[in-house]
Symmetry: C2
C-alpha cells in the first residue's frame, strides 16, 4: 500500500505526537525494544503516526493501543532478494503468506514472469507492489533471457527497462547474472550497467573470484547472494560486496555462510530466500527460520537481527527502515520468543497485520493467462540418438541447482539411447511453449530414482518452457499435455493417468488460488512423485532448475543438452 | 573536479583493467590495504581507472605507478560537517590545506556566507565545489538567520533553497539548528522539512533528549554533531541518529565522545570538525589528528578508520566511497604510520595530490567583496546603562561556545556601567554591518583577561556582524573601524594603534590569500592579543561565538544582550 505522504500536515502530526503533545495513531505498550544498533533492550512504549514511528523510550497514548505484554520487539525483516514467482502464488497471496513471518519488506526480481511476458510481467509486479500490505520493492530483471541457447517468451533490453526505472517501487537493476557479458564488455550489457550507475546494481556471481571478480565489481556491482562457501563470501566482503546469505527451497547456503556473520561485518551481511515455495514456508518458515537457525548456531542475536533488518535496508538504500526509532518506518515485529525468533503480532508500515488489512487491498488483475502456447506432444517426440558409446547425463545434486556432468553407457534400440532404470538414468525433455517453434530438447538425467511415470512443469528456469522428467515416454507425454491443458502448472503422470496436478495459469508460473490451497496441492504432488519412486524431497524444484543454462555444469534447454562450462550446446 | 563520467566507454575500460586485460591509469604498488569492513590488512596492488578503483588483491600494471613501499593504505577521510568559512580561506585554499591531511571528501554547510550573502553565497560554494580536487559536498543552510533577534545579511526560505536542491554536489539540508521551530511546528520550518523528506536532513540538537528529541527526530532528521557527553550521544545513537564526533577549534568533543566508538556502533559514528582554523590545522592536523587521538585512547584502528570513512559516507548516502575495493571511488590515503595516522601521499578521485593538480583548477571568482556596510563608530557608541545593581555579564568558557550567565556589581559613572579590569569584566559590542541600521548592541564579558586594547572581528556567528571585545572604548572603536576599512577581517588595537590585522574581504569571512599567509597573520594576531593580556588561547574564535544566540546561556547580538534560555533580549 502506498506510503503515507510526508507532507507538512503529516510532519506536524508526527512531531506533535512524538513530543507527546498529541495522541499517536497507534501505540505499542509494554514493549521491550531491541536495538539493532547497539544490542540494548529497553522497556518502552512505541508511538506510531501513519507509517512512521514517532516515539520510543517514553510513555504514549494512541487512538489505538496494543499491549505487547513485555514481548521483545524488533524491526521488520527484509528479504533482500527473491522471486515471488517461486512461491507459486500471486504477490497478494505472497503478501498474506509471508507477512505473518515478520517479513515487512521484500525486494523481488520478477525475473521469471519477465522471461515469459517481458515488460508486461514486470508492470504486473509494479502495479501489485502499490497495493500489498508489505512493502514490496522491485529490482528490474537485468538478464532476460539468461542466454541465447534457449527460447524465451521475451527479451528485455535497456529500452525496455528505462521506462520502468523511475517507478517509486523500483530499487535498481536485479541480479546481474550475465557475468561473462560484463567481462566481455558486451555493448548491450554496458548499456544496462551505464543506466544504473549511481543507483543499485544487484550482483550474481557464483564462484567468481580474483581478477575476474574485480572486473565484474569495477562495473559498480555491490551485492551478491551466490556465495556458497565462507571463503567465497569473505573475498566478496573484503572487496566491498554486501553478502546476502541465501536459504531457499533448493539453494541452501545458511550452514556454509553462518560463520561469516561476525560482529565486525554484520553491518555488511543480509539475508534472502531467492526461491522458496509455500510448503517450505509452512513447514520451516521464512526469514524467521533463518534468524532462528543462525542464533542456534551461536551467532549473536544482535548480528542476526541486524542482518535481517538494518544491514539489509542499508545495502539497498532503504534508509527509512531497519531500526525502531522516531522518524523510521513503523515495521515492527513482536516476538513471542526472542532467541527462537517466534513471531507474534506484526505491524507493517504502521498497520497491524490482521485479516482486514489484506481484505482492504485492491487486487490487480492477473496477466499472462494464455502464456502456454505449445502444441500437444506424443511419446515419440522424446528421442535421443545414441551418438556415442558414452551418453552425457545430467547428474542432479539433491538440494543444489548445480549439476554434475556424467557419462553413462546406456542401452540402445534403433540407434536411440534408452532409459536405464537400473542405473537411475531417466529421460528429461524441454518443450518450448512461447513461440510455437515445436522445439523439444531431449537428454538424460540421473538422481530422481523414479521407477515409473513422469513429472512435468511449466516452471523451468529461466525461460520457463515445459520441463519433464520420466521413466517412460508415454507418461512424459501425458504429463506435458496436462500442463498444456492447464495453461501451465505441475503434473505427475503414471502410465496414461494424471496422478496429481497444480494449475499455474498466471504466466504458467503462479496459481490463482490461495497459498493454503497451493500448499495442499503441493503435498499431493509430493506424495504422487514419491509414489513413482522419486527419492528427491523436492522433485518439482529440481526439475525447474534443470533448464537453467547459467549454472554449472550440465543443463538442458529446448535446443538441447547444454554444457555450461564450455557454454555451448552438445551435439547429439 | 568533476567526476569521471561513468558511461559505457568508461565502464569498458574499468572492467578490462580490473580483470587485468588492459593497463590501468594508475597503480599503487606494494600497498598494505587496510579493510574498514573486516579489519584485515592485505598486501596488494591497487589499480585505478579514472576516479574509480578497479582492482585489489592482485598484480596490476598502470600508465602511472606509485610505489607504496609497504605503507598501509586506508580510504580517504570524510569530514561530515564543517563550515569552510571557519578556515578563513576560500574553498580552493581549504582544498589545498586539508587534502594533504587525507581529507578527500568534505561535507560543508555554507551557513556563514549564506547569512551574509544568501543564495549568492551558497552558489559560490556550489560553483567552487565543481572545481576543487577534493570532493566538496554541500548541505543547504537550513536556518538563515539563526533567530529573529539579530540583523543578518540574508534570510533563506524554502523558495530560496528549492532551486539549489538538485545540484549534483548537494546532499540535503544542513544542520537543522532551529529545533524550537521544529517542535513548535513553525510552517516555514515544516516547508523546509517536507522538501527534504526522503533526502538527507542534518541535525543539530544540543542537549535535546527524551520526548522533545523524539519530536525532533519524527521529522526525519538523522545526524547530530552536537552531542557533548557520552550519555547524550548514546541516547541519540539508540534513537537511530548517526553521531558525528566533533573536534573543532572551539567545540571539542573528542575526549567526551571517544568512549562511544565501540565495535558494535562504529558503523553509526562519524567524525567532523565543524569549525577549525588554519592554525589548528597546521599545529594539530585535521581528521588525521582525530584518528590519531582516538587510537591513542584505546579505540580500535578498525573503528577509528571506519568512522572516518565508510560510516561517514554511509550516513550521508555517499555509497561510492569509504572502502578500498573495485567499483569504489579512488580516494586513497597512504600512511607513513598506521596507528599514529601519519599521512603520506594522498590520492583523491584517482589523482595523486601534488602541486600540479591544484594549479590545474579553474578558480571561481570571489563574491561579496563589499559586504561590510557599517559606518565608522566612535568610542561613545559603546555605552551600557546601569539598569540594576547587578549587571548581566557573559562568562566565556575557554574552548567552549557555551557561555555562563554571570551577574556582577560594576562601577557606574553617569548612569553607565563601566569596565572593571580587576574583575576581568570587559565590554563587548556587536556592530551591525549588513543594512546600515546603525545598530550597536553593548554589554559585558568576562574571561578574556585583557588589561588594555581591543579585538574586533567581522566573523560573528551566525549573522556575522562586527563583534568587538575591549578593555577601553577608544581601542574598541579603532579596532572596529579598521575592520570596516578592510571590508572585513580581524584587528587587534591598543590605544589608537592597530597592532595586528587579517583582512577577510570575501563576505567579511574569508581571506583571498594563501592558507600559509593567513596562518602567519593569525600567529601575529595571537601574539598581539596576548600582548593585551588576553588569557584565551584562541581569542578570535571565542569572540566569533559570542553573538550566536542559539547556544546557551548568555549571548549578544546587534540588538543587545540575549538570554538564550529564556530566548529573549534583556532590557538594559
Amino acid at each position: 500500500m502506498k506510503a503515507t505522504p510526508a507532507d507538512a500536515a503529516f510532519l506536524a502530526r508526527a512531531i506533535a505526537a512524538g513530543a507527546g503533545d498529541e495522541a499517536a495513531d497507534l501505540v505499542v505498550r509494554n514493549a521491550r525494544l531491541f536495538s539493532v544498533i547497539d544490542g540494548s533492550t529497553i522497556e518502552t512504549d512505541i508511538a506510531v503516526v501513519g507509517d512512521r514511528i514517532v516515539g520510543v523510550q517514553g510513555e504514549y497514548e494512541g487512538a489505538r493501543e496494543i499491549d505487547a505484554q513485555g514481548r521483545v520487539v524488533v524491526p521488520g525483516f527484509i528479504d533482500t532478494h527473491l522471486h515471488v514467482e517461486s512461491s507459486l502464488v500471486t504477490p497478494f497471496e505472497f503478501d498474506r503468506c509471508v507477512l505473518p513471518h515478520g517479513v515487512t519488506t521484500a525486494i523481488c526480481d520478477p525475473h521469471e514472469i519477465a522471461n515469459v511476458l517481458g515488460s508486461e510481467g514486470i508492470r504486473y509486479f509494479l502495479d501489485s507492489s502499490l497495493e500489498t500490505v508489505m512493502d514490496l520493492r522491485v529490482n528490474l530483471s537485468s538478464c532476460v533471457p539468461a542466454t541465447a541457447f534457449e527460447t524465451s517468451g521475451a527479451c528485455l533490453e535497456i529500452e525496455d527497462l528505462l521506462p520502468l526505472r523511475d517507478h517509486e517501487k523500483v530499487i535498481g537493476l536485479a541480479e546481474f547474472m550475465n557475468f561473462p557479458g560484463v567481462l566481455m564488455r558486451d555493448p548491450k550489457v554496458l548499456a544496462k550497467l551505464e543506466a544504473f550507475q549511481g543507483g543499485h546494481i544487484d550482483g550474481h556471481a557464483p564462484l567468481l573470484s580474483g581478477m575476474a571478480l574485480n572486473g565484474y565489481l569495477a562495473a559498480g556491482i555491490r551485492t551478491d547472494h551466490e556465495a556458497t562457501t565462507a571463503e567465497e563470501a569473505l573475498e566478496k566482503l573484503s572487496k566491498g560486496m554486501n553478502i546476502l546469505i541465501r536459504e531457499g527451497s533448493v539453494s541452501k547456503d545458511l550452514d556454509a555462510l553462518a560463520p561469516i556473520l561476525q560482529p565486525d561485518v554484520s553491518a555488511f551481511v543480509a539475508l534472502c530466500t531467492d526461491d522458496r515455495n509455500p510448503l517450505d514456508i509452512a513447514e520451516e518458515g521464512h526469514l524467521d527460520s533463518m534468524i532462528r537457525r543462525l542464533i542456534a548456531k551461536g551467532i549473536r542475536p544482535l548480528d542476526a537481527y541486524r542482518a535481517a533488518s538494518w544491514s539489509a535496508a542499508n545495502a539497498f538504500g532503504l534508509k527509512d527502515r531497519g531500526h525502531l526509532a522516531p522518524g523510521w518506518r513503523a515495521d515492527i515485529v513482536l516476538l513471542d520468543d526472542f532467541e527462537d525468533c517466534r513471531v507474534g503480532p506484526v505491524i507493517s508500515g504502521g498497520r497491524l497485520v490482521e485479516p482486514e488489512v489484506f481484505k482492504a487491498r485492491r487486487i490487480v488483475s492477473p496477466v499472462g493467462l494464455d502464456s502456454v502456447k505449445a502444441s500437444k506432444v506424443q511419446a515419440g517426440a522424446f528421442q535421443v540418438p545414441a551418438a556415442s558409446a558414452q551418453i552425457d547425463v545430467i547428474g542432479v545434486v539433491p538440494g543444489r541447482i548445480i549439476t554434475e556432468h556424467l557419462k553413462r553407457h546406456l542401452p540402445v534400440a534403433d540407434g536411440k539411447a534408452q532409459i536405464d532404470l537400473d542405473q537411475d538414468v531417466l529421460k528429461v525433455a524441454v518443450v518450448e511453449r512461447h513461440k510455437q517453434t515445436g522445439n523439444i530438447g531431449c537428454g538424460f538425467v540421473s538422481g530422481f530414482g523414479m521407477k515409473t511415470g513422469a513429472i512435468a512443469s511449466s516452471v523451468g528456469h529461466d525461460s520457463h518452457n515445459i520441463c519433464v522428467v520420466g521413466a517412460d515416454e508415454e507418461a512424459m507425454a501425458i504429463a506435458v499435455n496436462r500442463v498444456i491443458d492447464m495453461k501451465g502448472g505441475f503434473a505427475v503422470a503414471d502410465g496414461d493417468e494424471v496422478k496429481a496436478e497444480l494449475p499455474l495459469p498466471l504466466a504458467g508460473l503462479m496459481s490463482l488460488e490461495s497459498f493454503e490451497d497451493v500448499r495442499e496441492k503441493l503435498e499431493e504432488l509430493r506424495v504422487a512423485a514419491k509414489g513413482l519412486g522419486c527419492v528427491l524431497p523436492e522433485p518439482f524444484l529440481q526439475v525447474a532448475f534443470l533448464p537453467l543454462p547459467v549454472i554449472p555444469h550440465l543443463k538442458i534447454t529446448d535446443l538441447g543438452v547444454f554444457d555450461v562450462n564450455r557454454f555451448e550446446l552438445l551435439s547429439q
